[in-house]
Amino acid sequence: MLTQVAAGRTYDYSHSVGRGAQSGMGFSQPVAAAQGPNGVVYVVNRGSEGISNVSWNRIGYGARVSQITIGPEWGQEEFLGEFSKYGDGNGEFIWGSGVAVDSQGRVYVSDEWLNQINVYDAEGNFLNRWSALESDDGGEHGTANIAIDADDNIYVTDGRSHEVRKFASDGKFIASWGGRGSDNGQFNAPWGITIDQAGNVYVADHRNHRVQKFTADGKWLASIGSPGAGRGQLHLPTAVAVDPQGDVYVADWSDNGQHPGRVHIFDAEGDYIITLIGDAMELSSWAKLTVDANADYLKRRREVNLQNMESEWRFALPTGLMYDAANNRLLVVDSQRSRFQIYNKVSGYMVPQMNL
């Protein structure tokens, strides 16, 4: 549905950005994105292990942070550069998992294997890194995602120790909460995290199939969504975003047959509004470059009839969400299709007459 209207809100599908690429103009298993004050969108590419017929081991292929700008319309995106790569040296990561930008424009990338936060300047130059653990307790940890509040406090989820930890911007530990369980305030494999304008913390509680809302110091406030595959029900939520009006966006991996993944929208009270399933019926400009360069792709695409295109336009395991408040739009990191799908939140939308 290219335009979704509900509860006085309208979400207009805008366009998609990206294609599969191990470097340069495109993404490789993108899992998270954040925008800096400079307008640059930083995209964490998870990458993959090994490539087809190379007979020695190559891991971390395509792992990097892409720097792009995304214009208001199709074809206006620009690839600026990329930084970091697979590894455990300074500025490198094994499992890039989350990204956030502080008030100074510094870029923080979490690594859920090494449990470290790498800090870069806005251009991607490595500044420092610090442990995202409270203490090295020898247990299992996975620093899944990262969010930064208005005071530059840093919050991370830990998907393997089932908690949220809060740090000062220099990495000094402040607090933690959670623990494994399904009660209010407990988690099962928490993943996505975001902060609203009031400083409240939202966590995608992946294996409890809900989003939980906390105060900045971890006091439980509310739970959003219920488990299930129906409309407004969550199954394996991965990411959460909140817009300035307080609307909450939740990406999940709900398994709709061949096409896993939706984005559910709730209002500030946690009431369900509507669901997006993906609308990328037009190729992104970068994807089009590939198709245009390959005559056989073009021919085969023409041969495939329209109903078989569904697997291309739907979301496929979205794992990141970013609300771009300056432009009133939602960017969905459509991970398995190596792209963003972008929706404009339109105000003053008039529904056309049915008898038009």
Partner: protein, 375 residues
């Protein structure tokens, strides 16, 4: 051996992933090259021109030296009909010489059997890499697969030398024919001892080796250095195999292709310098091939899978020069946007097998093919 004539040796360097022909040997005077390569085209002034038509990629200076010495053959438009544009399938076709059905036997596996039918030398063929390429696969034909020559052998995880020697002694006793019952146990015993033997033979090579040539610190250079060490140890190895990649430059081709060819060119030059310095070059040739060339038109940052490609033969015995025409880039001459190959890869094999290795090619490559005069 009484004969003073050295046995001919073949080194195969597989450029895995589909090397981009158009940016390796560049038809720089053809305006269609520029038209088709808006994003990844190589600037004219950087091209290492060989004549008034083609030039090498700027990072291939060492290869240009081989060319200038007359020891590099550029084989244009190599491939076979109906390229499947799949890495796996294309590589299989090159390995098995079976473009029309699935083959399980490798052409060099067959060559190994021809050279050493009684399996007298377990290192007749040595592959540098963890797994056996299908080119070398033939049931019952031993091929040594070496990951790292300095650390090749059984139970290499036991680092303390004296202790490892003790364990290997025990291993030899445990695998000896006196222990074991039945044909399969005996076979396992013999095979285990063969493994020991191959390791023992190859392990001496680095110790016997000395050279003033310093190889670069790259994976392909260390493989070629290993090949040089084994070759110079005179262990009777006739076929060496290694690969480098991935040349699968769908994106960011400019930086990637540069780096790949810097590494390959420098390693190949070091290899031949090394052999020459040690009077071991005259009986060695190297074949460099890739499973397919890439699309003529770039995709904005790289190139996708194509058909016709380029192969190289290098060595003192090679008659340098270009072989065959550059395939036409004109749109009406392309197939699915790809260069159409005119030289069947099996004709290169045929030349190598007959004119270099001195064997009958037909049973190895599965047919009769033209035999260009590369030697």
């Amino acid at each position: 051996m009484a004969s003073t004539k050295k046995d001919p040796v073949l080194v195969v360097l597989q450029l895995t992933g589909g090397n981009d022909y158009l940016n390796t040997v560049i038809p720089f005077t053809d305006p269609l090259y520029r038209d088709n390569r808006p994003a990844v085209g190589v600037a004219d002034e950087r091209i290492l021109k060989l004549n008034d038509k083609v030039g090498l990629h700027p990072t291939m200076g060492p290869m240009k030296n081989l060319w200038d010495q007359g020891n590099l053959a550029i084989i244009h438009g190599v491939g076979y009909a109906n390229s499947p544009r799949s890495h796996f399938r294309s590589m299989d076709i090159w390995h098995t010489c079976e473009p029309d059905k699935l083959g399980t036997e490798g052409w060099l596996g067959r060559a190994t059997k021809e050279i050493d039918p009684n399996k007298e030398n377990v290192v007749t063929t040595v592959s540098f890499g963890p797994s056996l390429p299908r080119a070398l696969a033939l049931p019952g034909v031993p091929v040594a697969c070496v990951d790292d020559l300095d650390n090749f052998g059984l139970l290499t995880g036991i680092s303390e030398a004296e202790q490892r020697d003790k364990i290997l002694d025990r291993f030899t006793r445990l695998y000896s024919p006196t222990i074991g019952t039945g044909a399969v146990m005996d076979y396992l015993g013999q095979t285990g001892l063969d493994s020991m033997k191959a390791a023992d033979i190859l392990n001496v090579a680095p110790g016997m080796y000395s050279s003033s040539i310093e190889y670069p610190d790259t994976t392909i250079a260390s493989k070629l250095k290993g090949i040089s060490q084994v070759h110079q140890a005179n262990l009777g190895t006739r076929i060496f195999y290694c690969d480098h990649g991935s040349f699968d430059s769908h994106s960011n081709q400019v930086g990637m292709h540069d780096k790949l060819w810097v590494d390959v060119s420098q390693a190949v030059e070091s290899f031949f310098d090394d052999l020459r310095e040690n009077d071991a070059a005259d009986n060695v040739i190297m074949l460099m091939f890739t499973e397919f060339g890439r699309r003529v038109h770039d995709n904005g940052s790289g190139t996708d899978h194509g058909a016709g490609g380029v192969a190289f033969l290098a060595g003192d015995a090679i008659k340098g020069g270009e072989y065959g025409e550059y395939p036409s880039l004109r749109p009406e001459h392309l197939e699915q946007g790809d260069l159409v190959p005119h030289t069947d890869f099996r004709s290169i094999y045929t030349s190598i097998v007959e004119d270099w290795m001195g064997m009958d090619a037909q049973p190895l490559v599965g047919g009769v093919f033209e035999k260009p005069a590369y030697f």
